[in-house]
């Protein structure tokens, strides 16, 4: 599987462009993994990330079951959040760096149902891709769940909560939550790879992988943020009471009270 290249003196950026442009033709079917590919994390790292992610996933399963049991009417919105992640993580989009990547869509569910639920839903998506699409992998599932299902949603939720406290409009909250959840996912992936392959150092390796992942991801994160805003606009018009109950929209009485406070 290794690729030997003849021109060892070309600069790294030229090398990257060459790799990007030849990979599709020379190795069809090999560029199959989103996040970290199957078998590419050393065993201690694979085990370590799996152990780190496991409690979050277990907590996420329990949070999801509790949510459904206490509010059966939320099943529809839960399905929408899961489906949104399912769609977005299947869409590979071209980016300015000349490579392609896909969004994660985890920010929406993190806003609607808080991040633990997304740890569970992301695990389902990543398992589906690992088993049926040879995408990601079982040995790297722990690491990929940690980046996409835990780090991303928590960063997105943090941005949402902070902007909410600053009384930013819902659209702004959603945009940054979605975009930052997406970016955080790929930054954590870069960090995981840098830890596993610290060549020459973790910092330098992180910069190298972050260049590959994160730069490609920036325009896609912006697009994901906009798509998220569209989703929440649609939800606001058809599921207002549901969003009120989840605390995302202020209830009419609360809104009136805040407006009175502002006018007073």
């Amino acid at each position: 599987m290794g690729i030997r290249h003849g021109r060892a003196t070309v600069s790294q950026s030229q090398e990257l462009v060459r790799v990007i442009t030849t990979i599709g033709t020379r190795h069809p079917g090999k560029d199959s993994a989103v996040h970290i590919a199957e078998g590419f994390l050393p065993v201690p790292h694979a085990v370590g990330w799996a152990v780190a992610a496991a409690p979050f996933v277990v907590h996420g399963v329990r949070a999801t079951v509790r949510q459904v049991r206490e509010h059966p009417e939320d099943r529809v919105l839960l399905a929408a959040a899961g489906a949104f992640t399912f769609i977005l993580s299947a869409l590979k989009m071209p980016s300015v760096t000349g490579s392609s990547s896909h969004p994660t869509g985890t920010g929406a569910g993190a806003i609607l149902f808080r991040p633990p639920v997304m740890a569970f839903l992301s695990t389902v998506v990543l398992l589906f891709q690992a088993l049926l699409l040879a995408h990601g992998g079982l040995t790297t599932l722990g690491a990929n769940v940690f980046s996409m299902g835990i780090a991303g949603p928590w960063v997105g939720y943090g941005a949402y909560a902070a902007l909410r406290r600053l009384r930013a409009p819902l659209e702004v909250q959603v945009f940054f939550a979605m975009a930052l959840a997406d970016l955080a996912t790929y930054l954590v992936t870069s960090f995981q790879l840098a830890l596993a392959y610290p060549d020459p150092s973790v910092g330098a390796a992180f910069a190298k992988f972050a260049t590959i992942f994160a730069l490609t991801q920036v325009p896609l994160a912006v697009i994901e943020g906009l798509v998220g805003v569209v989703l929440f606009r649609v939800l606001r018009s058809i599921a207002g009471p549901e969003l009120e109950r989840l605390g995302i929209l202020a209830r009419p009485a609360e809104r009136a009270a805040t407006e009175d406070g502002v006018h007073a």
Binding site: L16, V34, S99, A134, G137, V234, E259
Partner: protein, 147 residues
């Protein structure tokens, strides 16, 4: 869409949503064009596979291979499309369900309001509240809110 205004939020305007979708398309086309302009003939390989490539160039070899491998790029693309289609079907179902819930809520509110307006003598104290619809609190606030 007057019913959009009766919801909890003063409903978002449809044209803004469509404009945002248009912006998404424009951004997608722009990124594609920009990348092609920078590196003509670029094939848009996955950034993950670029990372794999860098690892392999460093001498890294996978110690485990996927249990199931799609036979070709075409089959792989098909499976990705299937994933998106599955997600799309569920999302469509969920949004349809939420929309029908809203319709039911609206009809219920209309019929109860009509019933109370039709017989104001029998329940005079509940009539003003019913007229304001969703906001049972002080009516000046409610009208201000919906304006």
């Amino acid at each position: 869409m007057p019913e959009a205004r009766t919801g909890a939020a003063a409903g978002p305007r449809a044209w803004v949503t469509w404009a945002l979708l248009g912006l998404v398309v424009v951004l997608l086309v722009a990124t594609f064009a920009l990348a092609r302009a920078q590196a003509p003939g670029t094939q848009f390989a996955g950034s993950d596979s670029t990372a794999v490539q860098v690892l392999q160039d460093q001498g890294a070899r996978p110690w485990f291979t996927p249990i199931f491998q799609p036979g070709s790029r075409e089959i792989e693309s098909g499976l990705f499309a299937a994933q998106a289609a599955l997600g799309g079907a569920v999302l469509g179902w969920a949004l349809g369900r939420l929309q029908s819930r809203r319709e039911i809520r609206r009809l219920r509110e209309q019929s109860s309001a009509a019933a109370q307006q039709g017989a104001p003598q029998t329940a005079p104290e509940t009539a003003p509240e019913a007229a304001t619809g969703t906001a049972p609190t002080a009516s000046p606030d409610a009208t201000h809110d919906q304006a």
